[in-house]
Assembly symmetry: C2
Homo-oligomer: 150 residues x 2
DNA sequence: CTCACTATGTTGTATATACAACCTTGTGCC
DNA sequence: GGCACAAGGTTGTATATACAACATAGTGAG
């Protein structure tokens, strides 16, 4: 395998790869929110779960996973941690298989306390990405969410 | 803590949050590449490291971390795994602290084999995001990379 | 030259993530 | 009713990620 060929291939991928770029943005933006939220002991990943639970009426883990495009096993353990912290509660309905996830008063309080810090991180991120990119990212996510519903 | 307040806060965050959207895109796009690359036993996260190593001349882990905006500890362990698979090699220079990371022949071969699959995932992702978003994501990443150099 | 500081990496710990295999429970077909 | 199949969750395993604490080795000021 010759060096020039490797160089060419590597440059080809580096020049255009969407994955490396989306993953980079993810790390940078997640870092902005996590830094700001740190005093509250919550990370943006968990805040997002809290928001989904508050927005849907006691959704099942599967439902949350569908909204966030996360594996059920990932959700399972993320929810576990949040239950352990007292932010969420699990209730079992008639169908013993399906669990309903509910936000606790402690979870509500945390959500309220998060709002101003979230706002700060939001502004910082928008400034970092610029208005055009911010709009594009929202558009892309909305498209994915719309696809899921059809 | 009242229900209405929680609802309002949750909707406020859900409506605009950049973090949840960037993280969503990251999961979806990473999934597209990982699915396509699976037959080769490499994930796009490691392919990206391989590309950086091939593009810079035997960079240090710190250098790779700076390019990808990754913690040095993250890089340390990612590189370990790739060394264990025989795709990378570590050499120590005069400064015993600094390690130089080199791609092995096996790593080169893997990179070449990855190219057509990467191309396929790239096209699939571009179609998924649309041209406008694709351009915006590249613009945002390029801005971050430019900032790092100044 | 020495000491404080910085740069580079590694390790301990915790979270986030996904895939595969599994268990349990509804459901629908016959 | 009984059985095959689908749906919902959990667990085992592995990777990816970050922060904090540490170890070690250059570097520069005096």
């Amino acid at each position: 395998m010759e060096r020039e060929m490797t160089q060419t291939t590597a440059r080809r991928i580096a020049k255009d790869c969407l994955a490396v770029r989306v993953r980079l943005l993810n790390r940078v933006v997640t870092g902005v929110y996590d830094d700001v939220l740190r005093p509250l002991g919550i990370k943006v990943s968990q805040l997002n779960v809290l928001v989904v639970v508050a927005n849907y009426d006691s959704p099942t883990p599967t439902k949350i996973g569908k909204v966030l495009h996360m594996e059920k096993s990932t959700l399972s353990r993320n929810v576990d941690r949040m239950v352990a912290r007292g932010w969420l509660r699990i209730a079992t309905g008639k169908d013993v298989r399906t669990h309903r996830v509910t936000i606790t008063p402690k979870g509500r309080a945390l959500l309220e306390k998060s709002l101003p810090l979230w706002q700060q991180a939001q502004e910082e991120s928008e400034a970092l990405l610029g208005e055009r990119v911010t709009r594009a990212v929202c558009q892309a996510a909305d498209r994915i969410w719309a696809d899921g519903k059809s």
